[in-house]
């Protein structure tokens, strides 16, 4: 959230309040983590006219959850009486899995999803760094399918404990 605070100055109580409300809004596809954990919530901005805007970013251009995410943000703002807050999507710079917070990575692992490695994600078919099993930590694993239940995850299998698991791909 530090980036967002820098954008509007450190002590705007409305921004702080909006961030507080939005920091716990879960991702619709992976409810174990919040939109803030995933870096999908870019921050809150105040324009020269004095209007506040929550700025979101899609993970993939065609992410089907984009609309659901905007709806959950709107619902959370409404539930806390925060009306007349704009919601906008910003593509640039493009979202990367490096924006997933350390806390977010830990929550993903606890939920059974192997988190992405750090370092700018380069999609690749082969020669990716080893993915560790979220259950037994073994790195003796293999990719079963490049895509899983969502575009941002691939399907893997642990060769040690034999459990299948999902991996949040580097992107």
């Amino acid at each position: 959230m530090s980036a967002a605070e820098r954008a509007v100055g450190p002590v705007d109580p409305v921004v702080t309040r909006i961030l507080e409300v939005l920091s716990v809004v879960p991702d619709p596809e992976i409810p174990a983590v919040s939109l803030a954990d995933l870096g999908i919530l870019r921050g809150v901005e105040k324009n020269p006219a004095g209007d506040y805007q929550a700025v979101l970013t899609p993970t993939y251009s065609g992410c089907p959850a984009t609309k659901a995410i905007q709806d959950s943000v709107r619902a959370a703002l409404d539930a806390h009486g925060l009306t007349r807050i704009g919601i906008r999507s910003r593509l640039s710079p493009p979202w990367t899995t490096d924006w997933i917070t350390d806390e977010g990575r830990e929550k993903l692992r606890a939920y059974g999803i192997s988190p992405p490695e750090r370092g700018v994600g380069q999609p690749s078919l082969r020669a990716e760094s080893p993915v560790s099993c979220p259950r037994c930590d073994s790195t003796s694993t293999e990719e079963i399918s490049r895509f899983g239940s969502t575009p941002c995850k691939s399907m893997w299998r642990c060769l040690s404990c034999l459990e299948p698991f999902e991996h949040f791909k580097c992107h």
Binding site: P58, Y60, S61, G62, C63, P64, R90, L91, S92, P93, P94, W95, G121, Q122, P123, S124, L125, I144, S145, R146, F147, G148, P151, H171
Partner: protein, 260 residues
Amino acid sequence: MSALASSSSDLQKARFEHALRLGDDALILAQRLGETCGHAPTLELDLSFANVGLDLLGQATLLLGVAGEIEGQGRDADALAYQRDVLAFRNCVLVEQPNGDFARLIARQFLFSSWQLALFQKMEALPDERLSAIAAKAVKEVTYHERLAASWMARLGDGTEESHKRLVDGLAWSFRFVEELFEVDATIAPLVAAGEAVDVSKLRPEWDARVAQVFAEAKVARPKPMRVVMHGRTGRHGEHLGHILSELQFLQRAYPGATW
């Protein structure tokens, strides 16, 4: 009409056409890939094609949204996708080609994605921040599309006698349509001159080198270039686009303005 006014309106028209071409390429190929859902050779490929199509559909939504903004007539991405007829579509004819067998689909995907990747990398430097942002976002996605297709080019070409033959046939089918990808026609030329569109003719050497590398891995010869009478960029499509649109636009044609 003064020369200046004419030139400025030409440029505005070219901006709209430019965004349409980019958006229609993505939209039509997304629709073609959507047809494979439930029909790919393996479950993993089924998921891959559907997700590649999903990426392209997302790109199409963004690009057609920009086209609508440039046009300024109140048309959004949905209006442009659902309420135009064949002659108004600006996609290249390569993407409207029927899927054919798995090898032909892979050949089309490789030829298109390798071109789209080279294009989007250059588009990141365009002055229109909407287009450069979409391109920067899409480069990450298309990088994977290209690698998926390139890896299957090698597996099919360097596979069995049958898979090799099918890839050669698929390439022969698709390669007839690549010239259009590198053409700067009269509509887009003023935009290229103004630095607002990538000069696609200059992408050729890089694309040729990449294609040669993958053709070598796949042990296939480069098909001879060919000119065809169809020209998607100016609306002269083949018979296939009409059939695609009859499915893509069915709901809005049968129930105009339907929403949910």
